[in-house]
């Protein structure tokens, strides 16, 4: 096995609530796979508690939530809190999709680490994740 793939980044991709738009999340899943990451899908209609539990069982590095309908201002802060309470607050929490600018400060304050809005390039997401990981590893050594 090539050296670089020995410890692939693990990313949970989830959709919360009644949002059933899956095109974006599917495209991102394939892009991350091509970039050498392990992507875990949870399926649709997840609650914050379900996503937090799956993130812990799967011990992912990153939790990515796709949001293309309203509800993120309530569900994402809950998810961030549940992860923290379970001792998993160190996981990177990302959200992508339709996130109005006025919601962004609230989400960031609640513990969302990064917001990708509509039109974000998958390459930007991959670059961001790789840079985050490099910073993590530098911090630990």
């Amino acid at each position: 096995m090539p050296q670089g793939t020995e410890r692939p980044l693990r990313v949970l991709l989830a959709k919360l609530g009644m949002d059933t738009h899956t095109v974006g999340i599917t495209v991102i899943a394939h892009a991350l796979r091509e970039a050498g990451m392990e992507v875990i899908f949870t399926g649709l209609k997840q609650t914050p508690a379900m996503v937090a539990t799956a993130a812990i069982q799967e011990d992912v590095d990153v939790v990515g939530v796709s949001s293309l309908s309203a509800g993120h201002t309530r569900s994402l802060p809950t998810l961030a809190r549940l992860l923290r309470e379970a001792g998993a607050g160190d996981k990177l929490l990302l959200v992508g999709g339709v996130i109005p600018e006025e919601d962004q400060p609230l989400l960031q304050e609640a513990g969302v680490d990064k917001i990708f809005t509509m039109g974000a390039d998958t390459r930007d997401i991959i670059t961001y994740l790789n840079e985050w990981r490099a910073a993590q590893q530098a911090g630990h050594s």
Binding site: M1, P2, G4, T5, E6, R7, P8, R10, A29, H30, L32, R33, E34, A35, G36, M37, E38, V39, I40, F41, T42, G43, Q46, A49, M50, T53, A54, I56, Q57, E58, D59, A86, G87, A88
Partner: protein, 310 residues
């Protein structure tokens, strides 16, 4: 967090972390394993295997429900293929098991094959040990969709469930070579589809031939062929009856412990082989390999030469 101590107490965060370390070949994984290994060997490991599209995840989902209704705590190891090119993977098995996510007595872990052939992941065995140490009574291991001879699951599981589906004659052809020889319980899923009866007869015939070929065996377990529609929870109680009967059969004959012991022995030899190869590669003279590439020396002679210099 003392990962070993916490996971023995059933802590999910610790269990998830231990499996990650082992999957990543992080040395901390081996340390945890050393502490928890004495607490393993109790769980009944059930392999679920079959061709792609047979409904393995859906069946696993239904089996979890049935096992939970009988009070069993259930661990799940769901394996999907990693890309041989990028090393990445899309692990989607838990989508079909989502209704069990919030059950504290169910732990589902998705694992990529990470370069391992044979239908399993290189760390499937380790994941089973961790779940066993966490106190799960039954561990379901769902393999990737397999073809004819990807039967590594047999070395890992006490009980192997082969999942087929009706209709295609080719489908039975596809599983007869390897899978028919190794199954302990056969399930024809999606049995409401046309062709069920013909498929059942083919299964029965092949199992009959298999039994005739093994008449000298003192141990005799007749694998049942069961009908299921996993999506509607049909036939699932009978499948769990069969897996539990098989576990009892193994225990009555002292086979349960023997299989568990064999598994650890095989794992040891596998790890040794991996380490030896690594060691040998570090000492391999690149000039000899270059000579093979240039067709100056044949691979057999080159391998002999390289081994002599170790």
């Amino acid at each position: 967090m003392d990962v070993a101590k916490e996971l023995l107490g059933g802590n999910m965060l610790a269990g998830g972390r231990a499996i990650r370390w082992l999957d990543d070949r992080d040395p901390r994984g081996a340390e945890v394993l050393a502490s928890v290994f004495p607490h393993t060997g109790r769980a009944h490991i059930i392999g679920i295997t079959g061709p792609p599209g047979a409904g393995k995840s859906t069946l696993a989902n239904a089996m979890i429900s049935q096992l939970r209704s009988r009070g069993r705590r259930v661990g799940v190891v769901a394996i999907d293929p990693s890309s041989p090119f990028s090393g990445g993977a899309i692990l989607g098995d838990r989508v079909r098991m989502a209704r069990h996510t919030l059950d504290a007595d169910v732990f589902i872990r998705s694992i990529g094959t990470r370069g391992q052939a044979g239908g399993l992941s290189r760390s499937a065995h380790d994941a089973c040990l961790i779940l066993d140490a966490m106190g799960f009574d039954v561990i379901l291991v769902e393999t990737v969709g397999v073809g004819q001879d990807e039967i590594d699951i047999v070395a890992l599981a006490h009980t192997t469930v082969i999942v087929g589906l009706p209709g295609l004659g080719d489908e039975v052809q596809a599983i007869k070579a390897g899978l028919m020889e190794v199954g302990d319980v056969f399930v024809i899923n999606k049995a409401d589809r046309e062709g069920y009866e013909a498929t059942r007869q083919q299964f029965e015939l092949m199992l009959h031939l298999r039994a005739e070929g093994r008449q000298d065996s003192s141990l005799h377990w007749s694998p049942p062929v069961l009908r299921a529609v996993a999506l509607n929870d049909e036939g699932i109680a009978e499948i769990i009856d069969a897996t539990e009967a098989h576990a009892q059969f193994l225990r009555d004959n002292g086979e349960f412990e023997r299989l568990s012991g064999q598994r650890e022995r095989a794992q040891t030899l596998g790890l040794m082989g991996e380490a030896l190869l690594q060691l040998a590669l570090e000492k391999t003279d690149p000039d000899v390999l270059a000579a093979v590439e240039a067709r100056e020396i044949d691979p057999y002679a080159a391998a002999r030469l390289l081994l002599r210099s170790l």
